[in-house]
């Protein structure tokens, strides 16, 4: 079986916090166009792995490659510049700002000509138009991008965050527990959104506790245990019970392609 080259890859990641070793030689592979779920028990190193991959932590050892190129992220900003966007569980938006301003926060468009160059004036019209396009592409049901985010439901807010990530993420999107703060119906909306992001060909790393959603969305499931990759399975090859068994160490798992 000839697999394509991974988009995003890590080998032998080690991260220590004092005496605690959160990652002890973790590997990671993300392939083009896939949804890779990352799961693991609390303390398995799941969130440390994600923070290393998204630039929030620097690994003590190991290497990360993006499209085969060695990368060193010193901050989340570096990762973003490299085309990696992250959606956080706690709705990382500015609630009083409108949707368009949130989508362009930190990447505002300025007007052409002297008003933009010397007056540093924003091109609000263009930002609204593009924000509106980004939302309708993902079918986030919102009438106007001039609405303040605080007037949206939790699901719609996360929709804005996902749309922002999809709009700016050139290489891949990391979703860190994107539905943890949401109700049942809103979770379903976000699950649909993640599918649409994948359908556009953008690979997604999905961190989740929610097994049914992991099995619904993921092409492959990366299981963390004791700071390492315990295995990679697919929803077809393993049942939920088997995955939980690997997570807790009750069963061993194969690492295909590794």
């Amino acid at each position: 079986m000839s697999e394509p080259e991974p988009v995003f890859q890590a080998r032998g990641l080690v991260k220590r916090f004092g005496h605690v070793t959160a990652l002890s030689g973790a590997d990671f592979d993300l392939y083009p166009g896939e949804v890779l779920a990352v799961i693991g028990d609390n303390g398995a190193g799941k969130s440390t792995l994600i923070k290393v991959l998204s630039g929030a932590f620097h690994p003590d050892e190991g290497e990360i490659r993006l499209d085969g190129e060695l990368v060193h992220f010193r901050s989340p900003l570096d990762a973003r510049r490299a085309g990696i966007e992250t959606v956080y569980q706690d709705l990382a938006v500015a609630p009083a700002l409108d949707i368009a301003s949130n989508l362009f926060l930190g990447r505002e468009l300025r007007r052409r000509g002297p008003l933009g160059q010397f007056g540093r004036m924003l091109d609000k019209r263009a930002m609204r138009r593009e924000a509106s396009n980004a939302l309708s592409e993902l079918k986030v049901g919102i009438q106007s991008v001039r609405v303040a985010v605080e007037n949206l439901s939790g699901g719609q807010r996360q929709g804005v965050a996902v749309a922002r990530a999809a709009a700016w993420g050139r290489r891949l999107v990391i979703m860190d527990e994107p539905t943890a703060a949401l109700g049942v119906k809103e979770t379903a909306q976000v699950v649909e959104l993640i599918k649409r992001v994948r359908d556009r060909g953008l690979p997604v790393i999905l961190i989740s506790h929610d097994m049914p959603h992991v099995f619904e969305l993921a092409d492959r499931i990366h299981i963390m245990r004791l700071g390492k990759r315990a295995g990679v399975v697919t929803p077809q090859s393993h049942s939920m019970a088997e995955v939980v068994a690997i997570m807790t160490g009750a069963a061993a798992a194969p690492i295909p392609g590794a």
Partner: protein, 337 residues
């Protein structure tokens, strides 16, 4: 178990929602302050036939200038969810620096003015650095720098009023006449500064970032904005604005007064809050602050005209502030819910 006297939380929530809805409908909260200002003016014009006369209204605007300008800087800082108790003392420091340098040290007027403004911006830099780098609450930091600035004012001035500043410093105290009413250039400067602040806050990326950082600092940081640098820049800009207020105060009073700016810090916060800007940060419009400053000025002036003791003016201001903050708190609670 059928007691019915338990409080119903739905009612204040509904009230707050209605208030919030009204504020949103009114184009972000300027309608309330504007109505309050109009009501106050109607009230005083009925009570005193002097109130609406051109010369009196001109006086109101002149008296509002320093607090009005200070309140622009205060608005910027409160939008970042900070607060500045030092603004009046910093203004007084700038006033003493520019007048003493020119009158007693022989520095020409323009460099002396610029040094005074730079001194105020320096205090802004100190406030901003302490708030961001040491992560101290703005309230505590500016309480400290309030005292430092006040002490420096007294040390540097030897507690003496500095008279006869150069005429270049008095320019903004001069007046021109429109329809028989004298208007000072200082008032024009204040209005121009409000227009500039409006533009910067609503039409530039820096302005959006100021709102965003007051609204959700973590989300702003994760969006790739250097929030520490942003907040420091806000305090420095506010400091420079206090320096301009110092210049306008020299122009109006024609002295360098070590006792200037006494309650201006609280008055500027009052103007900001009356103008509808949230003390929790991230919400508000600077034009509201101008209206807030005018409300304070109209009350002060009107109560004098109808012969009410100054104690009651302070009482009324206090009640207005608590009312405005309550509205803010109720609508904030609703957003959290």
């Amino acid at each position: 178990m059928t007691r019915t006297d338990t409080p119903t939380p739905a009612q204040p929530a509904a009230f707050a929602r209605a208030l919030h809805g009204a504020r949103a409908a009114a184009g972000l909260s300027t309608a309330g302050p504007l109505i309050a200002l109009a009501l106050a003016m109607v009230f005083f014009s009925f009570k005193s036939n002097q109130f609406l006369q051109g010369q009196n209204l001109s006086l109101v605007t002149q008296q509002v200038v320093e607090v009005g300008v200070l309140a622009i800087g205060q608005t910027l800082i409160i939008l970042t969810a900070g607060i500045d108790l030092s603004c009046g003392a910093v203004m007084a420091f700038g006033m003493i620096v520019m007048t003493k340098l020119s009158v007693l040290s022989g520095v020409p007027a323009i460099p002396a003015i610029l040094l005074g403004i730079a001194a105020c911006a320096g205090f802004g830099l100190l406030n901003g650095a302490l708030v961001t780098k040491i992560r101290l609450p703005a309230f505590i930091v500016t309480l400290g720098t309030l005292n430092i600035a006040m002490a420096l004012v007294h040390i540097y001035s030897n507690e003496e009023t500095i008279a006869n500043p150069p005429s270049a410093m008095l320019f903004f105290g001069r007046t021109f006449t429109i329809g028989g009413t004298d208007i000072t250039y200082g008032v024009v400067v204040m209005i121009a500064l409000y227009a500039l602040a409006w533009f910067v806050l609503s039409q530039t990326a820096w302005g959006s970032h100021v709102y965003a950082v007051g609204n959700n600092p973590e989300a702003t940081r994760l969006s790739g904005i250097r929030t520490d640098r942003l907040i420091i820049s806000v305090y420095v800009v506010a400091g420079a604005i206090y320096g301009l207020a110092a210049l306008l105060l020299v122009a109006r009073t024609q002295v360098g007064d070590p006792n200037a700016g006494g309650t201006d810090n609280l008055d500027s916060i009052t103007a900001v809050v009356l103008g509808g800007t949230s003390l929790f940060g991230g919400r508000g419009v600077v034009v509201g602050t101008l209206i807030g400053a005018l409300i304070v000025g109209v009350f002060r002036n009107g109560l004098v005209l109808i012969g009410v003791s100054s104690v009651y003016q302070i009482l009324v201001t206090g009640i207005l502030v608590i009312l405005a903050v309550s509205v803010d708190q109720l609508s904030h609670r609703r957003q959290r819910a």
